[in-house]
Every structure is written in structure tokens, then in C-alpha cells.
């Protein structure tokens, strides 16, 4: 019955369109769909107006949804045969969509323009490569760094983080900075804000820098239970459960999701996406590189990109729009809003990104992090795998399971998901 409605509505629209087309010239209409907030609406409407001006005959409709509704809506639109022509993609989710045939193969178009990706950071392209070429291209990338609240460090008389810091230095400082400042018997300032369920901001880097690996999706193996990984997990569990210097999800809920932004943690691990949120904060803060582990310094790099629907009626025009969205002009303006790092070297190493008025910090640090960054794992079934692993980890952080048991469960559940997804 819903199919009937789905067919009837486009038919009515088509009929209406035919009636109107006697007066209007045939225009190509493209739909661009993204995840983001009000800032993104403003900037993408401006950019699409510029695109329309330089590409007569094409009109672009921009639709921005918040992260959660975006993925639901995209699924339903594609299933209903009304996919947007160009839409935003997250590198982690990309294989799930690519493997199901939802995305247009871009390789022939890229081959026709060999200079197109010459100035793009190769590591940001890595996640989008498949055995038969690209089905999407990155538009920005994110590396993780250590944010710290100078006021809290000064008040506690603790030296600021340096580029020589190890994880043990971070742990010691975090312990010193965790305190009950009003003396009511409960902790009200923590050492570190770190996301404990998703891997990107914290635990992937800790595992990698202890010489562990995370997942071998091709062979269906979850690798976070290795001896090296267990050393890393025991380190994290020591901070969360013994030192109590990292607030749990339950503790954070009373301050909003981000403890560093709320001013209740002295340090925070996050990507450049947090910079615009932290900029207006009522305290002085700065950034330092990710601390080193026994196997060196490692951070995580992840990228958001654009893809074209395999069912688009206007592949050529959609390709023009995608090229524009990742091109220097759009990247210059996106660098200005300060959420992400441009994929074009000339922009990321130029004033638009490096000299952001609203946040006078060392933005270069996030780009230099590429030297020691590893790509966040991407594979088919990622979201379900990450949920299975995250659900098991949560059992450890809430105290329901000892860390070793929680990791065993994460490995078992993760492997079960991988076996189904292959």
C-alpha cells in the first residue's frame, strides 16, 4: 500500500511538472543531502548558489539533517527509489553502502581528470579505495589531539602537556587533576574526558600505540583481545575504574555529553570538529599532540566524504557538483567554519585553515598528526561490529563485567557480526 503511495506521488509530481514545463526551460535539478547543523545549512546554501552561478542550467536543493536522522532518511530514500543525487558519507559507513550497490562508480570520471586528486592528502583517500576504484571521495579529514584546560592545570600547579608526553604522563596528570573541589565528598573535576565506547577519539590510539591491532575484517577476526591490546585495556580500565579520572557516561550525563566543553575535565581527547564548540568556552585552553605509547605515537584519522547515488538520472551534473564540493573554492570556505581539516594541501597549509580568528591555537598540529596517524578501520558491517564491541565495553565501564571478560565478549560478539557480514 505504501508502494502505491510512493508511485502515485511521483506520478502526480511528474504530471504537474509536464503542465509547467510548457513555460519553463528544462533545468537539471540536483539534490544534495548532508549531515550537520545550522552552520552547515548556511554554508552549503551559499556554496550551492555559487555552483549554480558557474553552472547555468543546474539548480541544487540542499538538505541538511542531524547525524542520526540523516542515516535513517538516506536508507528510506534509497529504498524508495528517490535517492538524493549527491550525498555525504562517513568513511566508516562507506563500505556498507558501497557493497550494496547504492553508490556510483567514480573511477572513469576520475581517470578522465588525472590532476583532480594531485593536491589531496593520500591518507584521506585511503578509506574510499576499493578493488575496482573509487565510489566516493573525501571532503575533509579529522585527526585526534589532546585538548587541555590551562586554568585547571594552573590551579593544580601541574605542568602543561608537551609533545614528549607518554600515556603514563597523561595518567599521572589526570590523577592529580581529579578532585573534589567543593569538599562535598564526591568528585566534581576529572582529569580526562574521553569517549569510551566509540574507538575514534581514544581507545584505537591507545591500542595502536601499545602495538596492538583492532580488526582484520577480511578474515573475520576481531583483534582487540591480543596480549598487547590487553595491556592497553588494563591501562584504560586503570584510569576509569581505579583512578576514576575519566568520567563515565552516567557521570557525564549530568553535564551534557562533552565534559571538556562543560569545564568539568582538565583534558579532553577529540578531533578538530570540537574546536568551534570549545572556542567560546569560559576558560583558557590549548592543544597538544596525542601522547606516546610503548610502540610510539599513534593517532586516528577518519574522513567524511561525498558519494553519488548509483540511480541518479544526472551522473554528469552530479559529478560536477561533487568536484565543486571537494574543490579548492568550497574547501576554502569550509575551512573558515573550523570544524574539519580540508583535504586539499594548498588550503590546509594556507591561511584559511591555519589562521582561524575564532580559535588562535596550533591548527598545524592536526595536519602534522598525519605523520603518525592510522586510518580508522572501515569495512562492511562496521556499524554493527562497532555496536557489538561498544556494548561489551560498556559492561566494563559500568562495572558489570571485569575488563578481561568484557573484552572476551567484545571479541566473540564482534567475530559473530563479521561472520554474518562476509
Amino acid at each position: 500500500m505504501q508502494n502505491w503511495v510512493k508511485r502515485a506521488v511521483p506520478a502526480a509530481v511528474l504530471l504537474g511538472g509536464l503542465l509547467l514545463s510548457s513555460t519553463a526551460l528544462a533545468e537539471t535539478e540536483l539534490k544534495l543531502m548532508l549531515f550537520g547543523g545550522p552552520v552547515d545549512v548556511a554554508i552549503w546554501e551559499k556554496l550551492s548558489a555559487e555552483f549554480e552561478a558557474s553552472h547555468p542550467g543546474i539548480t541544487v536543493t540542499v538538505e541538511v539533517n542531524d547525524w542520526d536522522s540523516y542515516w535513517e532518511k538516506l536508507r528510506v530514500l534509497i529504498a524508495g527509489g528517490t535517492a538524493p543525487d549527491v550525498f555525504a558519507m562517513d568513511a566508516s559507513n562507506y563500505p556498507d553502502w558501497q557493497a550494496r550497490g547504492a553508490l556510483l562508480q567514480l573511477q572513469p570520471m576520475i581517470d578522465a581528470e588525472p590532476e583532480l586528486l594531485a593536491d589531496v592528502y593520500p591518507v584521506s583517500l585511503e578509506a574510499y579505495q576499493t578493488p575496482d576504484g573509487y565510489y566516493g571521495l573525501p571532503r575533509d579529514f579529522q585527526t585526534i589531539a589532546l585538548f587541555y584546560n590551562k586554568d585547571m592545570f594552573d590551579a593544580a600547579g601541574v605542568a602543561y602537556p608537551t609533545d614528549q608526553w607518554s600515556w603514563d604522563d597523561l595518567r599521572a596528570a589526570a590523577r592529580q587533576l581529579t578532585r573534589d573541589s567543593n569538599g562535598d565528598g564526591s568528585i566534581d573535576q576529572w582529569g580526562l574526558f574521553a569517549e569510551l565506547i566509540d574507538m575514534e577519539a581514544f581507545w584505537s590510539s591507545v591500542l595502536w600505540s601499545h602495538g596492538a591491532d583492532i580488526v582484520d575484517a577480511a578474515n573475520g577476526k576481531t583483534l582487540i583481545g591480543s596480549p598487547e591490546a590487553m595491556t592497553a585495556w588494563n591501562f584504560i580500565a586503570g584510569m576509569v575504574l581505579d583512578d576514576k579520572s575519566i568520567p563515565t557516561a552516567e557521570q557525564l550525563r549530568q553535564f551534557g555529553a562533552d565534559g571538556f566543553q562543560a569545564g568539568v575535565t582538565a583534558m579532553g581527547l577529540s578531533g578538530h570538529w570540537s574546536v568551534p564548540d570549545y572556542a567560546p568556552a569560559g576558560f583558557r585552553w590549548d592543544v597538544a599532540p596525542m601522547p606516546k605509547g610503548p610502540a610510539g605515537r599513534v593517532t586516528s584519522v577518519n574522513s567524511a566524504g561525498f558519494t553519488i547515488a548509483s540511480t541518479t538520472k544526472h551522473p554528469a551534473e552530479a559529478w560536477e557538483l561533487l568536484k565543486f564540493a571537494i574543490g579548492p573554492e568550497a574547501q576554502q570556505q569550509l575551512a573558515g567554519i573550523g570544524f574539519a581539516i580540508p583535504i586539499q594541501k594548498s588550503i590546509a597549509e594556507g591561511p584559511a585553515y591555519l589562521e582561524q580568528q575564532s580559535a588562535p591555537i596550533d591548527h598545524k598540529l592536526f595536519v602534522e598528526a598525519l605523520d603518525y596517524a592510522r586510518v580508522k578501520p572501515v569495512f562492511r558491517g562496521y556499524e554493527e561490529w562497532a555496536s557489538a564491541v561498544g556494548d561489551a565495553l560498556q559492561m566494563a565501564w559500568s562495572g558489570a563485567l571485569p575488563i578481561a571478560d568484557a573484552i572476551q565478549q567484545a571479541v566473540d560478539d564482534g567475530d559473530a557480526v563479521l561472520a554474518n557480514a562476509r
Binding site: M1, G101, A416
Partner: protein, 295 residues
């Protein structure tokens, strides 16, 4: 009694015509989706690739499903506490509110307020009350010299979540029970009084038997609410990966379908959920019929 209410032949067309807008809406919006969900539960579909027949494998795999079994346990425990508490407290409140004193309307409105408040906003308030370190409840406990309780921690979360949901549902139960109480003829009480019945005996022998229909109606409603509970639980227990520290069936269903590309499995879960509610409803009706026959 039903015979006199049956429409005449000529009126039937008119009745159908008047009912048509509702019936068509139900047919498309509700029965269509219900049927589609039932059919979908026998297929594998990820919304993007072509759909394929799966037989009963979606159902056969449910017991091994990581999320489904724990969600079923959580939902069952939740319902076992939630339904009796809502009925019991709702009934007690209704009895207390069933009198003519000054300001009774205001009191009734206060009890009903949670029902018409936004669960998202009220859920946030509750999360502040339950908060571990700066929460209202723990501040009171520590001020009295006690140890703070982890209200939303693994040990107590069931009771915290049930309390909030019961608090939110008392108003609704109260309204249903009040309507039932006020429909009991005063003569019955007067007759009982004349016969020398004490207040407690009047409650057991007059009030309760007359309230059987209301109690069962509210019992069915509360059971449905219990199995579909989501709003408050989401606000109090959500995690950054879309899961919850107290995942109920609705969480499992939503994540399976809309996050993990497994529409068939999600549909099977939905059918099982509907089945459970249907069984409970049938049992309630049977008991009610039996009680009604005895009375």
C-alpha cells in the same frame, strides 16, 4: 441488548460512509504496516539490495541474537514491576481523589500532569535527580550522612527506570479508575452500610467487583505501554552508540532495523513483541470474562 442497536439496512450505507475516513486511514496507516511487517519478517532485506525469502530463519535466529534476548529479559522484568505498580498506585490514588473536598480538581490535575508533559524534558529532569555526583537524590542522601547510590548503575537501574515510568503513568490510570469509581451507584454503598459493612469490606465487596472492567482495561493498556516503553528509558540510559544501559525491546528492534541493515530480523522482533502483547491481552480478557460470569 445489541439487537436494538444494530443499524437498519438503509442506514448501513450511511454508517459505512461516515466511518470510511477512519477505516481507510486505519487500513493504509495501521493494517497495511502491520501486514507489511508480518510479511517482511519472512524475508531478508537491507533496504538497498533486492529482497530475498528467508523462511522462518529470522525467527529461528532470534534466541541467539545478542541484543534480543537481553532486551526481552529487561522488558519482561520491567513489565512485571511496572504493570502491578501502575495499577495498584493508580487505584489507590483514584480512591483518595474520589471525594468532594476543596481543591480536589487541582490535586487531580497535579497527578495527571506527568501524562501531558514532554517525556524528553521530564526525562532530563529525572536524570538530574538521579545523577551520581551532583544529583538531587544523592545530595539529600549525603546530607543525611548516607552513601551516594548509583541510581542509574547496573544494580539499581531497573528500579529507577520503573519508578519514573510508573510516576509518569499514574495520572492516566487514575483518570480511568476515577471514571469507574464514579459510575458505581451510591445505593450499593448505602445498602452495604445498612448491612453493617466496614470500610474495608465495602472496598472488597462493592468497589472492587464494580471496578473489574476498568482494572482490566487499564491492565491491557499498561501492559502495552510496558512492552513499548521507550521515551523515559532513552533519556535516562542512552549511550553514545545508540544503545542503552537498560536496553528494552524497542531499542533492539530499532537498532537491528535502522542501524544494522537487518529489516527482516527487526520485523521478526516486532512480530514477537506484538505476539507477547496479544497473549497478555487475551489472558486478561479470559480472566475478566470468568470474573464477570462469577459476579
Amino acid at each position: 441488548m445489541t439487537g436494538s442497536l444494530r443499524p437498519l439496512r438503509g442506514e448501513r450505507v450511511g454508517v459505512l460512509l461516515l466511518l470510511a475516513p477512519t477505516l481507510i486511514g486505519l487500513a493504509i496507516g495501521v493494517f497495511g504496516s502491520v501486514l507489511a511487517t508480518f510479511v517482511l519478517s519472512f524475508f531478508d532485506w537491507d533496504l538497498l539490495s533486492p529482497i530475498s525469502f528467508a523462511g522462518v530463519s529470522n525467527y529461528a535466529n532470534l534466541p541467539q541474537d545478542r541484543m534480543f534476548s537481553s532486551a526481552l529479559v529487561n522488558t519482561t522484568l520491567f513489565s512485571l514491576l511496572y504493570v502491578p505498580l501502575t495499577l495498584g498506585i493508580g487505584f489507590a490514588v483514584a480512591c483518595l481523589m474520589n471525594r468532594h473536598i476543596r481543591g480536589i480538581s487541582l490535586l487531580r490535575a497535579l497527578f495527571f500532569l506527568p501524562v501531558v508533559s514532554s517525556p524528553a524534558a521530564v526525562g532530563l529532569l529525572w536524570s538530574w535527580i538521579f545523577a551520581q555526583d551532583q544529583g538531587l537524590l544523592n545530595s539529600a542522601i549525603t546530607a543525611l550522612g548516607g552513601d551516594p547510590v548509583s541510581w542509574l548503575g547496573p544494580k539499581v537501574i531497573l528500579y529507577s527506570v520503573v519508578s519514573v515510568n510508573v510516576w509518569g503513568a499514574i495520572g492516566e490510570a487514575m483518570i480511568v479508575f476515577l471514571a469507574g469509581l464514579q459510575a458505581i451507584p451510591r445505593e450499593l454503598y448505602e445498602a452495604a452500610k445498612v448491612d453493617g459493612a466496614k470500610p474495608w469490606q465495602r472496598l472488597v465487596h462493592v468497589t472492587l467487583p464494580s471496578m473489574v472492567p476498568s482494572l482490566f482495561f487499564q491492565g491491557v493498556l499498561s501492559t502495552i505501554h510496558a512492552f513499548q516503553a521507550f521515551d523515559y528509558i532513552y533519556m535516562l540510559t542512552r549511550l553514545s552508540n545508540g544503545n542503552s544501559t537498560f536496553p528494552t525491546l524497542v531499542f533492539s528492534l530499532y537498532r537491528t532495523g535502522f542501524r544494522f541493515f537487518r529489516m527482516g530480523d527487526a520485523a521478526a522482533q516486532a512480530v514477537v513483541l506484538t505476539g507477547i502483547i496479544a497473549v497478555f491481552t487475551l489472558v486478561y480478557f479470559r480472566i475478566q470474562k470468568k470474573l464477570g460470569a462469577e459476579a
